[in-house]
Symmetry: C2
Subunit: 445 residues, 2 copies
């Protein structure tokens, strides 16, 4: 099925320029029904710009430029015309309407980019980079996505995958020569290659959290027992009264989040409900919301009410650290204006603000270093999940070697790993994965 | 002074595409500092599109298209490059920043279009049409602006102006031959030409109100004595409870306005405060807000409380009609459910809604016919004022003829009129006029 699709490619609103894009087999013939310039677009060379009137029947809609991108040298890989028209909320809509009336159809969200993928113009990681660029809220995030877009990430994944395919191939080839007892590759060499590949996958998967920092910001949760001053500290860090503060335990029920900019990095501060302690063990069951916050936090500030004793929260601190190994933790002795400062942790007074600059410094350092660990790829959840699966499949191969299994078995494990890797770039794909990826796109992309 | 300016031309926001425009003497050399493609832009032909990487120093910002428009064949008349980059809020800003760092400057609002005007690419009415298209809120308004943009309006004004210049020229030429007593043009012929030109100017000036309907909507005011049911009718026409209704006189203090769409036309409904009556004459002094509303209204519904008598508002109706000759008026007998229907006006019950469809029909007809009177130009206040001034200057010429004044005097009046006409298209202009026109533009246009 070949569709010719037309939509506004730019953001709606008051501005100098809008761009309407039409792509598909009939893009040029449909465009020529509406565009009246010196040259018919059907006779225009690719990558040229033509000035003329855009008409719907006899009605002049606007004076426009028509840019030609002939297949396969277009974003989608199909014939594409881009009309540059005046900005505002009316004219572009009239142009789209005229193109739809002339035979184009309205695209699904992301259909332009989906077409580009299906025509081999972009692989899946590049498709995801396009979405990341458009939705990025930080310069660092946009720049990393741009690097990802030019395909280096894909290139490295492909090299990894082809390495594994060659290894599996050698193992399989040995099977053909099994009677001659020729060994093409030593199993210890295979093992070493697998270990290295696995390490590479794990390494990338670990960048998921750092990638999320670029996407959504560095997440800092304020946790602790009730009435330890969490909301007071939260307000102090935000430098405004956002959370309601009272001396009544449990004042903060849902969590409250606010974004602040520290240096170049967006920091999402989350104030959580106080954690309760049961008779014998520190338990945070029942406070599921807090759990989900801590799960995704990059840094957790555990607040201790030092006025009740320095070690009150030590057990909580250790328990949380163990439960959330991916987060960084910082013990904060609050209400320390009341006391000598000799215990563990950072001493602050959330109330007066004394010492809170040490927390701000910690957030800056931690967020900066989490981004520095990224070099040039943004790992999203889909990538991270597939990389972890790849790692497990490689592990099976390693286990099979260690258990002296047959080459056949080892090769199957490696083949599974290469298939999973293929899903990242889209060398292997299914409709469900595509639907998921394109669901976040806008109509005009 | 030659500046090279760079700015985002599209609306900011989440979308597939953004366009950044750079224009000026150094546009291409600056663009080439940032753009890395197969071809240097300095070597590219005009109206061609080039794919490449946009870099700020060593940092890759995005993969982009660069479209070339070489002077004088660009919007501004100067060398222009348009970079098509990915949408969203970050990348385009980075591109602009890089171009500014490489030597471009940020434009004033409307500087691209101002440059186009100064380079003779657009005249002032076309400049205004560009602004009208961008800000238009109705299809009819956008279409009319588009027709204006292609220059027909200017063409006709120029013809009118040149006709007057020729006439003045003939009168002046006669002066040179005054001793020979040669008459090149009969004064009655001059007079006829002036009358025709004046008629044309008046005709255009009258389209100002209709033009405003396309720009801002058809304005319908509900007026009348206190407690005649204005707010009840207003709510009924809006089909929601917008105005507070009570039986206490003076409930509506400020006026309240709401837009509704009737047919294709935006209608602005305005509920006004009740008008008071003094001892002997109907006076609306002190209710200045109502005056300003009625002044700009296209249709005024004068509500009479029929339960107090059919003729209660007759004097008010006549007074208002005389005071605002440019508005249409409709007498509405409200609370007519209580009475026989034998008097003047339209009978409705604002409370039950009975008969209000007659009001809606009237608004539709009146708004439609006001737009139909426009053919293909939008007259703004600047045009209307200048056209009225032209008409007065022509009148002086006519009076001079009728008073048998010398050709010299008549010619001066005609020359004044042609100068005023020239201000409309920008053949005559001053900085103040330009500043006023461009103050409403966005940076990227």
């Amino acid at each position: 099925m070949s569709r010719t699709i037309a939509a506004l490619a730019t953001a709606p609103g008051i501005a100098g320029l809008n761009v309407v894009r039409i792509s598909g087999e009939k893009a040029i013939s449909i465009a020529d029904k509406c565009f009246v310039g010196k040259t018919k677009l059907a006779e225009a060379k690719t990558h040229t710009i033509h000035y003329g009137n855009f008409k719907n029947g006899d009605t002049l809609i606007d004076t426009v430029t028509a840019s030609t991108f002939l297949a396969p040298n277009s974003y989608t890989g199909e014939d594409t015309i881009e009309f540059g028209c005046h900005g505002g909320n009316i004219v572009a809509g009239q142009i789209v309407d005229a193109l739809l009336a002339a035979g184009a159809v309205m695209p699904e969200p992301g259909e332009f980019t989906r077409t580009a993928f299906l025509n081999g113009k972009l692989d899946l990681t590049q498709v995801e980079a396009v979405a990341d660029i458009i939705h990025s809220t930080s310069v660092a995030g946009a720049l990393t996505s741009a690097r990802q877009l030019i395909g280096e990430f894909t290139q490295r994944l492909k090299e990894l995958r082809h390495g594994l395919i060659r290894t599996a191939g050698l193992l399989e080839l040995e099977l053909d020569f099994s009677e001659e007892d020729i060994e093409l590759i030593d199993n210890s060499e295979v093992r070493a290659r697998l270990v290295e590949s696995q390490k590479y996958c794990n390494n990338l998967a670990e960048k998921f959290r750092a990638s999320e920092v670029l996407r959504s910001g560095f997440i800092v949760a304020v946790a602790g027992f009730p009435n330890s001053g969490k909301s007071t500290l939260f307000n102090k860090l935000l430098q405004k009264n956002r959370a309601i503060v009272s001396e009544i335990e449990g004042t903060t029920r849902d969590y409250i989040e606010e974004d602040i900019l520290l240096g170049d990095i967006k920091v999402r501060l989350i104030d959580t409900a106080g954690l309760r302690e049961t008779e014998d063990i520190i338990e945070i069951a029942g406070i599921k919301l807090v759990e989900s916050v801590l799960e995704q936090s990059n840094l957790v500030l555990v607040l201790n009410d030092a006025s009740k004793g320095f070690n009150q929260s030590d057990e909580l601190f250790i328990t949380l650290k163990e439960k959330y190994p991916n987060s960084e933790f910082m013990l904060v002795q609050n209400k320390s204006d009341l006391l000598d400062k000799t215990a563990d942790g950072v001493f602050v007074s959330a109330k007066t603000g004394e010492g809170t600059e040490k927390i701000t410094d910690k957030i800056k350092t931690a967020s900066k270093s989490s981004i520095d660990r990224l070099n040039d790829v943004l790992i999203n959840k889909r990538h991270a999940d597939l990389l972890r699966r790849t790692s497990l499949e490689i592990q099976r191969g390693i286990d099979a070697i260690d258990a002296n299994m047959q080459n056949e078995i080892i090769a199957i494990d490696i083949r599974n790993a290469t298939n999973t890797l293929g899903e990242i770039t889209g060398d292997q794909w299914n409709e469900e994965v595509l639907a998921e990826i394109f669901s976040g796109f806008c109509i005009g992309k």
